[in-house]
């Protein structure tokens, strides 16, 4: 199963189903996801089940060789459940209970809702356990979407107290860890602790971080509740869930653990104001790399954008070639199966502008042809690298805890964990250096260079792990605000960067939030030239304590003090970047670190042309992706053979038209 579609037979007359199945087969579709929003149709009133329609749809598709992944329909409890148990409705951060009418109108801690789920999911799983066309399950849909604010109902309050008691054991330890002595917030019982509902002045930052962790764990628990049912009833089926890239309501590393593999929903074009009309290609790549990093293995795309998308407002229309380009990019970064959302544009409901492969009228047009051709071309090649990964020599640590801590205290109005991290990612991406994204729990030693941006929260084992990594020869990049806090979000009483001081060979007696203040750094590590560029948001002010300066500040009272340092530590090297760099100095710095780390790019490409690699069973497969709205010319290395896109070759030159792609096989494995 390499290609699929998200299909909603319940939205169309039965007579249409065989036509759809035929068109799918013709396009090369091998799998569908169905039913994740169809609870009301499968159980129109309590205890009365109707799977006949779905059985029939599965059968019709199955006859064309198309397998089925079933979604548990728990994002959409029907109105009869809500009318019977309105306490299931979630409460937002203002304390307001939200109503029926959309989706995800459920509290995930609510025990009554769990009972409804247990009843229904057990029956559904049992029913499909032996269906020969059903191969797996998606739990619920996009956990965390639609919950703009996490549930703050009474049930969640109780669950939060249990979670805290489980973590801290005694209220004294919680008081100590959170510093509740501040502002007389000392608690004598766990059930006194508030949820972060509106209060005069802000809540304790340790409470806020634990609340986010609790809410994340609740989703993991909610998923596991269903996973356990399905594992029991359907031991031969796989289980997955569709993640959403940089969404951060849940620690996806934790959510991934209970799944056979993770899936991801990839929407390069966006429909909201103040968002890029098209996500920059490096951002799309970073998301895919993060998704691959969840289990450090290939994944599914469960929703690959298939047309203009949006609710009340709509994205622009994918240009000819872009649907293919995005499919190739997903595969290049580790997708082994690509499922398009959705088969056909819906005629009603909130998502009627979320366009499918087929338009509203159902007759194949440009998008169908483009996807059909993509499947035709790419499908056969995919067999050669199924399960293979890029060979990344660079790793970037990604931490939901750090992300949440900066949401709680961004320091500067515009400082964001993900965009700061992307500053590093982009420099590697532009140089065609494959990057893995990994969690703190994963193995570091496989990387020549490891970037750990904004390591604000620390814990002793992580500090030790990083120290060991460098001591044994690894190259590590630490940045501003490293080592400020303990894992409970309280400040550490040490000179910054705290326990990392010996590793990086510096001390930070002061820092400066760059509000209206202009500050720049001068990159002076190259002997050939100097580069000066504006920096932003924050400046750690450094005293060298063994390290060397690679770049210095150029303004104000800390002019000429170090802004980037390097420190040889045992067998390795530790860098410290004290501010948020602009792209030019970032490029210099990454180039310097890459050179000193002995890391090799895949190849050089023009701006906007991406080179990505997957290790195949018979050599490396290199994807060349032209994200530009204009053509590009590349000199291809000798010994590489075009397996897709040979038509673009002129001698040794690859001439890619706008949005065009090619795949090469490298002989020298």
């Amino acid at each position: 199963m390499k290609f699929g579609v998200d299909y909603y037979p319940e939205h169309w007359p039965k007579e249409r189903w065989p036509i759809d199945a035929g068109l799918m087969k013709e396009a090369g579709i091998e799998v569908v996801r169905m039913a994740e929003f169809a609870w009301a149709k499968m159980e129109p009133c309590e205890g009365s089940y109707d799977f006949a329609w779905l059985d029939e749809a599965i059968e019709i598709l199955g006859r064309e060789g198309i397998k089925t992944v079933l979604g548990t329909p728990t994002p959409t409890p029907p109105i009869w459940i809500i009318k019977k148990n309105p306490e299931i409705l979630p409460v937002n951060r203002d304390g307001v209970r939200l109503g029926f009418g959309g989706r995800h109108h459920d509290c995930q801690s609510n025990p009554t809702y769990r009972e409804h789920i247990k009843r229904f999911v057990t029956v559904m799983a049992r029913h499909y356990s032996n269906n020969p066309h059903v191969v797996g399950w998606q739990i619920d849909n996009e956990f965390g979407n639609s919950h703009q604010s996490l549930c703050m109902c009474d049930s969640c309050s109780v669950a939060f107290h249990k979670w805290l008691e489980n973590k801290y054991e005694t209220i004294e330890k919680l008081n100590e860890a959170w510093g509740t002595i501040f502002w007389s917030q000392t608690y004598s019982m766990f059930d006194q602790i508030p949820m972060p509902l509106p209060t005069p002045n802000g809540h304790n930052p340790s409470l806020l971080l634990d609340w986010k962790r609790f809410a994340s764990d609740l989703i993991v628990d909610f998923q596991k509740y269903q996973v356990d049912i399905i594992r029991r009833e359907c031991p031969n089926h796989f289980i997955t869930h569709n993640f959403m890239g940089f969404f951060d309501k849940t620690d996806y590393f934790n959510l991934a653990k209970d799944l056979d593999f993770i899936s991801h929903d990839q929407y390069p074009m966006h429909f909201r104001k103040n968002r890029d009309a098209i996500a920059p290609s490096y951002r799309l790549a970073a998301i895919l790399d993060l998704m691959r990093g969840m289990k450090q293995k290939p994944f599914w795309i469960m929703e690959q954008q298939s047309g203009p998308a949006g609710w009340e407002t709509i994205s622009s229309t994918p240009r000819p070639g872009q649907l293919a380009l995005w499919t190739y990019q997903s595969v290049a970064h580790g997708a082994d199966t690509v499922v398009y959302f959705r088969w056909r544009s819906c005629l009603f409901g909130t998502e009627e502008y979320w366009h499918g492969i087929l338009p509203h009228h159902g007759i194949p047009e440009r998008r169908y042809e483009e996807i059909k051709q993509t499947i035709n071309e790419l499908g056969p090649v995919m067999d050669h690298f199924k399960g293979g990964l890029p060979e990344s020599e660079v790793g970037i640590l990604f931490s939901y805890d750090q992300e949440w801590a900066f949401q709680i205290q961004p320091h500067h109005f515009e400082l964001e964990y993900i965009s700061h991290m992307l500053g590093y990612y982009r420099a590697f991406y532009d140089a065609n250096i494959p990057v893995d994204m990994l969690s703190e729990e994963q193995e570091f030693s496989r990387y020549k260079l490891l970037v750990a941006p904004l390591m604000f929260l620390t814990k002793p084992d992580l500090t030790a792990k990083l120290e060991k990594y460098v001591a044994e020869g690894g190259h590590l990049v630490l940045t501003m605000r490293t080592g400020v806090k303990d894992w409970n979000n309280a400040v550490i009483s040490k000179i910054l960067p705290g326990d990392f001081s010996p590793l990086v060979g510096i001390k930070i007696p002061e820092y400066d939030c760059l509000r209206d203040i202009d500050q720049s750094v001068r990159w002076a590590a190259s002997e050939l030239y100097e580069k000066v560029e504006k920096v932003s948001k924050w400046a750690d002010i450094i005293t060298l304590d063994g390290a060397d300066a690679l770049a210095c500040y150029t303004e104000d009272y800390y002019k000429d003090t170090p802004a980037i340092t390097q420190n040889t530590y045992k067998h390795g090297m530790a860098y410290y970047v004290a501010t948020e760099l602009g792209p030019e100095v970032m490029k210099e710095f990454v180039s310097y670190a890459v050179n000193h780390g002995g890391i090799k790019p895949i190849m050089q490409t023009p701006q906007g042309v991406e080179a990505a690699r997957r290790k195949g069973n018979d050599g490396d497969y290199i994807f060349i992706l032209n994200h530009n709205p204009k053509s590009a010319v590349l000199n291809m290395p000798l010994g590489w053979k075009a397996v897709i896109g040979e038509k673009f070759m002129r001698g040794n030159e690859l001439h890619l038209s706008q949005y065009a792609v090619a795949v090469f096989k490298s002989e020298q494995v």
Copy 2:
């Protein structure tokens, strides 16, 4: 009765009333509106009525020959009603019940409130039924104002369910029409259906549109409830209501049906931020044309701005000449009576900065003199064209359903039904071509050219009516997003523009939301030159199917495809405009369509000088209105005679100083 004022005798000592009456008479005032906010004074506690003060005011004014229009005071239920029946207070879209302290603090579906109204309005109407000075009634005040969000109380929930049951008869038909199968929203009983209160993710667009229709119908019903009482008690009095131009909480075409004539409140200067300090003159004209279109007959201005206006912030001050200018403009577009808001600036309460003809201190000044002179000059001439209309050869369809559908799904962040429509209106206005605004129910055949902007929702009888209009020789302009949906706000499963395809001779296989994307069109219909101008928000991508291209796109993958088309259809012509045009290409297009439609402008005028026409009993009366803050010179047609403003003539030239006006009579009727 040609001129009047809004008068609040209850705000002033009795001793002042005869002075006011004398000053009014001196200025030429013939009618006052009174009492629409005076419930507490007329019924200080339940069942205890006091009309003596109002009788006396009516009598004092009557002695000066001034007639009275009475407002029913239902926008301001007194505190004793609210304390007795707090359930009357309205609930906003966040589910919060709003309190006493402003006005319109009432739920219009609430049966208890209706009982209070029945009691009071019956008594009041009976009391004034035979008063010789009372001539008519205004029901309530500006329906929809102050209801920032429509009421969502339990009473409205019940009323909504009844409305839905009345419309759909069975829940199955509603489920089918709304597509509730999407996201498991299938209902089994009408009383399960939610009001559009906050929910995770958005509500079903069909529900949202029906909610807006329900809310509009509720206001119509609320008005009718009072109309019925007054018709019964005061059979000899007229009944009206003061509309608010482009306000859209109610379908004004429906609200107009139960009235003898409609009234309108015209405020050219605005007090809110991010609004034009002075509404552009074409917008004022469009509003007046829409108001005339309500019943396709002359109307009253019930509140004509008489000074700076505002609540917590204040508009600029009308410049000398502007009060006269705006009066003339209102009359030019169909007002037969102009009532100024208000007689004297109030000394207290929320509207103390809503300045009257008289300043706070009550001594006549500039504004009094200007209005007095206006009445003096214009009054006598008005008798000649009372009841007469412009002779418009161009019609613009105005639809509240389309407006609401685009509020629910604007597609592009800045796409608005009214401002899109005004793009067309303005081009006619600038060319001094009179336009009628009309509803879908009104007669089309009287127009040579009909513009139907953004005909997003369709219904078969309307499609057929438009087809017949063109078939019999009419010229029709359709635009982007025509024919997308049925009348229930669900998408039609046809290639766009659906049933309009044969009429316009095109197909639309794709479209593009113009987010960050630059797109332009090249107007190439003229042989003399080409014009290229940026377009915005949306681009339908057209395949010609019989039509000709008048303009093409200039960028991106659909470069050189048609952006404006024309199609000869039977005896008529159908245009299609696939995008939102800029003003220059709009001007070219309208000029082209006007020429081909054989439509004649009133005359040519310099920028900012408006020419408007009313048909009189002895010829056409042409108003020349200089909206510019500087003087203008016009060559006047031979055979026109200045009946007002002769002093501005220099031979054949009209020299209008800033804001000055003139009225001509055309001999060639």
Copy 3:
């Protein structure tokens, strides 16, 4: 006691306390403020008191000669109070009850909360009444902070009704004063009157102003409730409260009356977006002058910024020299004691980024050294002018009633009472002319020139007092919107400026809100040149009635009419400024008024260098403060002797480096 710190021993282990005390002593610290947030530690559960820890801290500090000011911990009722009496939690302006988790989570009218306070504060005061190290009390903390909206709970509703009854005696008088006849808002009982909770359309402006007065009086009453306890229990201790400059939830003049002296919290660097990173020095000066004006005597700084500050976002870092500079400025404007906030940066809780003199790690660094040196240098000199004031010949009236009235009705979106007032203040400041800020109750006759900006509300005794002031020779500046309203916020029925007309010799028949309209004035009072500059927000249109024009408008229909006038009235002079001036014409006008008033500046200084004066027991002390980030050179008057900063003298020239300060003693007293 000249220098102190805010100290929180409860945040640190006991072992640290002697170390802190030693470091404080070394730096010259003589006083600490403690315990204002420590209720939970002093009363861990109801009726169980623990003062031992605080006794010990006081004792350890006392041994180093450091005195203690105690704060009553009423901003932070512990969770056990809230769980027992949740009705204490405040209700915001949306009617939502706010929760526990921050501070100030209390309703100040709630009688149950008052009982808790009575119990605890009595015990605490009694306990410390005779402690030899305790010298005084701070009541609560920063009244009005954290109450983004004032409490609207049922208890406050009852208190509001009582307050109104007390003010108006009968409901008829209230109806008359407020003009409740408008919109049928007539009340028959006080308890019908709503709080200004959300309502359709706006509330009555008189209600809104009385609500603000009630809320202010409630805070005064809440403070007095505690003052009375402490006066009784601790007759030998002083009582103060820490004000917040331009915060305006309370009429600080009233709040000051029950205190021995006022304190103020001065934070020149700000952490919120859209605020100046560093407050302009004239604004800081104005705040200090207002604080001195509270009781027209010296005051304490209870919180002087000691480092970067902020909650979720952080200010920039005070540059070397700025902590000293701000300390000198506070003292120059009347502070006799400066307490820094805070001693050491906290490791946890909401304010962990509110940096103290010591960093998080507790080891003295740059900030400690700078403050130590400041104390060392400035401390001894302060003895010479303790209790002395500037000798201001200019007064600016500051009125909370006017401020509130403009918040309720700002007229123009950007018109603000304080920033308008600061336009005048800044012109005096730039000229080094000392200014007093005073209330309407204070004595006018001591000033040669009195500026009363935006005297919107009037009352007969104030009008008479101003008339008398001018009649007897004073020079008075009145401005736009003077005399519009009575003290109940209802408009006066007189030609503007009402009763001030004879005094200023003008009439104002019209006015114009300057929205999108460009308007300028031409200053023509100098014979040498003309100056034209843009004005903004508002323009009164003036007819001279005895006065002379000093400046005229240059645009629109009131071009060449007066914009600034002067009128000789009996022995004095009355100016009228009809618009909001730009800085250049303001400078001309102030210079003109100063010259005609015979007022002398301290000296001339370069831009950004402030000269301020305090009267000492042996001569005047003049502070020269360089607020610039670069050095400045001044020619110093003969006969002045440098007592601080002699090192900056080169002959007669003072060479101040960036942020540097000097203090001179003038011989010619």
